[in-house]
């Protein structure tokens, strides 16, 4: 009984690591630019396919991670500067911007469907004997995923708390106009945001397909709701909040699955979001007044 719970929690932590990597990128992007980017899932899939192409040519999964991150960063910068900024300059409001990102997501998803010929590709790396820690049995890959998640979280927190760039990022997230008045180069900060969040997005895509061992055009789209839920739950612009929310959602999902509710496991994760919305609406009301898009 307790063993089931322990291993469910362990699997939950693995899933949470994947969600957290994506949610950290999402929350930074959302917190800084105010764009609720629904094409984020599509860009995750692009990262995944980039890694798939690299590893299918015989390179190791570590290169796959690097290439996925670079692909995510470049694509995000291009759409951010080339598409989202155009709409922002034309006076699009937050909702219209979200619809633009949804349209872009459709373009990316179905473009990938066309390119991948609607196939699902197997992606297996690092098949080796599982490690058992008492009742918990994890594969080395899963341990590495948790490690990557922790390392990225620590790195991101260090960047935000200890460096000047991080200070500028936080200032910009808090008040763009004031940040600009203080001499922060907000343009460059926005570029940096696209690159940073895009890299996390691409990485998340690769880590996700390493965990699920396959990649198809719906990979990111199906995962995105969990990511958005974690980012909203954790509070926009807060990586630590996103990580906590990811842990909560990952563990709830896996525990429900372990106790016979596998049909409803993902729905249970969203159930958490709904309950929080009902019980603590202030979680999503924090940025009520700020509906300005800040990306030009």
């Amino acid at each position: 009984m307790l063993d089931t719970l322990a291993s469910a929690v362990a699997f939950g932590v693995v899933l949470a690591s994947v969600i957290a990597i994506a949610a950290m990128g999402f929350t930074i992007q959302f917190g800084l630019t105010n764009v609720l980017n629904l094409s984020y899932g599509g860009i995750m899939t692009i990262g995944g396919f980039a890694a798939y192409l690299v590893t299918s040519h015989g390179l190791s999964a570590w290169y796959g991670l690097a290439v996925g991150a670079v692909a995510g960063a470049i694509v995000t910068l291009v759409v951010g500067r080339g598409i989202f900024a155009v709409y922002a300059r034309r006076g699009a409001r937050v909702f219209e911007m979200m619809m633009v990102t949804l349209g872009l997501g459709l373009v990316i998803d179905y473009g990938l469907q066309a390119l991948s010929r609607n196939n699902i590709y197997e992606f297996t790396v690092l098949q080796s004997a599982p490690i058992s820690l008492g009742p918990i049995i994890l594969t080395p890959t899963e341990v590495i995923i948790i490690g990557i998640g922790l390392a990225l979280f620590a790195g991101l927190e260090a960047l935000l708390r200890l460096t000047k760039i991080g200070k500028a990022l936080r200032a910009m997230a808090a008040d763009p106009a004031l940040a600009r008045a203080c001499g922060i180069r907000t343009r460059q900060i926005v570029v940096l945001t696209w690159l940073l969040s895009g890299a996390l997005c691409g990485l998340a895509g690769v880590v996700y397909i390493i965990n699920s061992q396959s990649v198809g055009y719906t990979t990111g789209e199906l995962f995105l709701p969990l990511v958005i839920a974690a980012a909203i739950l954790g509070g926009a612009g807060s990586p630590a909040g996103a990580v906590l929310a990811s842990l909560l959602m990952g563990i709830v999902t896996q525990v429900v699955a372990a106790y016979g509710g596998s049909l409803y496991s993902t729905a249970a994760g969203f159930g958490v979001l709904v309950i929080v919305l009902l019980s603590r609406p202030s979680a999503v009301l924090t940025k009520q007044a700020n509906e300005e898009l800040t990306l030009a």
Partner: protein, 340 residues
């Protein structure tokens, strides 16, 4: 010739159902500013309820599909229940998702709700037969003594009756004080609250009215095609209708009809006649890519749609067509108005 007649009548039915969908979304977003990216689940619940209540009980050795609410109800009842189901689900969803929040948050939460519903219905076979969906829904107007081709046109006419009725009803609603309250809420939420409008109730009301229309459209659709499965209701389906009302013109019902004619009907059907390129299925993928691009392009070059919302004009009396002060004064007003 009869193949063409069959094809055109099928398009006519889809057009009518998409008009109902567009009217529903336009009332919610175009008039009230309530973002309903979960539209497709209200249409689906209507479809499922209409299908399940029209089908007989699934007991017996040959049962190949499982579902709840089996009732073999006679003709108009499944459609009535479908409409009510759409409204009821909208009420439930609206209760927790219509809190005061940013519109993009609200949209994202609706999208999540729609994905939860999709997963639950796909996973739980006992609800509505899981991913295989329901099939063999009886044709509602089969008591009419007409051939299969004539039935097509009769059904198209049946759908258009609903279209016209809903169109007139919604136009009357949106010109009524209630409709003006919706617009006030959309444009200046805080001011609308300050003059005493109950924002929460208004939002819920418009959400439920839209849900009723969505349920009706789902019921009409499933009784026409005879089957419904989770494959039919991804978020992309909602996006097509949103594209249609953005292209046609938000807050303008003629714009909605035009947009629905252009986007889901002409645009998606014309591509069926293009020569197939590449492998089978490539065209289907590219169709969705083009829909996405179309929305983005439209928002860039014509953000208010082809037929933008008209400025409110002072109208006398009740605008419901059956209660106009009279045809002659109406025409005089129309003709006497200077060309703007």
């Amino acid at each position: 010739m009869s193949a063409w007649s069959y094809y055109i009548s099928t398009l006519a039915v889809y057009f009518g159902i998409d008009v109902l969908s567009g009217i529903s979304l336009n009332l919610q977003y175009g008039y009230a500013g309530v973002v309903n990216l979960a539209f497709i689940i209200f249409q689906s619940v209507g479809a499922y309820v209409a299908a399940a209540t029209a089908l007989g009980p699934d007991t017996g050795a040959g049962a190949f599909q499982h579902y709840i609410f089996a009732a073999s109800l006679p003709f108009p009842l499944p459609l009535v229940l479908a409409t009510l189901a759409g409204g009821a689900l909208a009420g439930v969803v609206g209760l927790f998702s219509l809190r005061r929040m940013r519109r993009d948050y609200q949209g994202a939460i609706m999208l999540i709700v729609s994905l939860i519903a999709l997963q639950v219905v796909t996973a739980d076979v006992s609800l509505f037969n899981g991913s295989n969906g329901l099939t063999g829904v009886p044709k509602p107007l089969s008591f009419l003594p007409v051939g299969p081709l004539a039935y097509q046109w009769v059904y198209a006419g049946w759908v258009f009756v609903f279209c016209v009725a809903v169109y007139l009803l919604v136009r009357w609603l949106s010109r009524s004080p209630w409709g003006r309250a919706l617009k006030a809420m959309r444009d200046q939420e805080e001011a609308a609250g300050a003059i005493g409008l109950n924002i929460t109730v208004l939002r819920l009301q418009v959400f439920v009215v839209g849900g009723l229309i969505a349920g009706l459209s789902g019921g009409l659709l499933v009784e026409y095609i005879g089957a419904w499965s989770p494959g039919a209701w991804g978020y992309a389906e909602t996006f097509v209708i949103f594209t249609a009302i953005f292209v046609g013109g938000l807050g303008n019902y003629r714009g909605v009809v035009l947009g629905v004619l252009l986007v889901p009907v002409v645009f998606l059907q014309v591509t069926q006649f293009l020569p197939q390129i590449g492998y089978p299925g490539l065209m289907d993928s590219l169709e969705w890519v083009v829909i996405g691009l179309l929305f983005m392009f439209c928002l860039l070059v014509r953000p208010r749609g082809i037929l933008p919302e008209r400025k409110p004009e002072a109208t006398e009396g009740n605008a419901f067509p059956f209660a106009t002060p009279g045809l002659l004064p109406y025409l005089r007003r129309r003709l006497g108005r200077p060309l703007a």
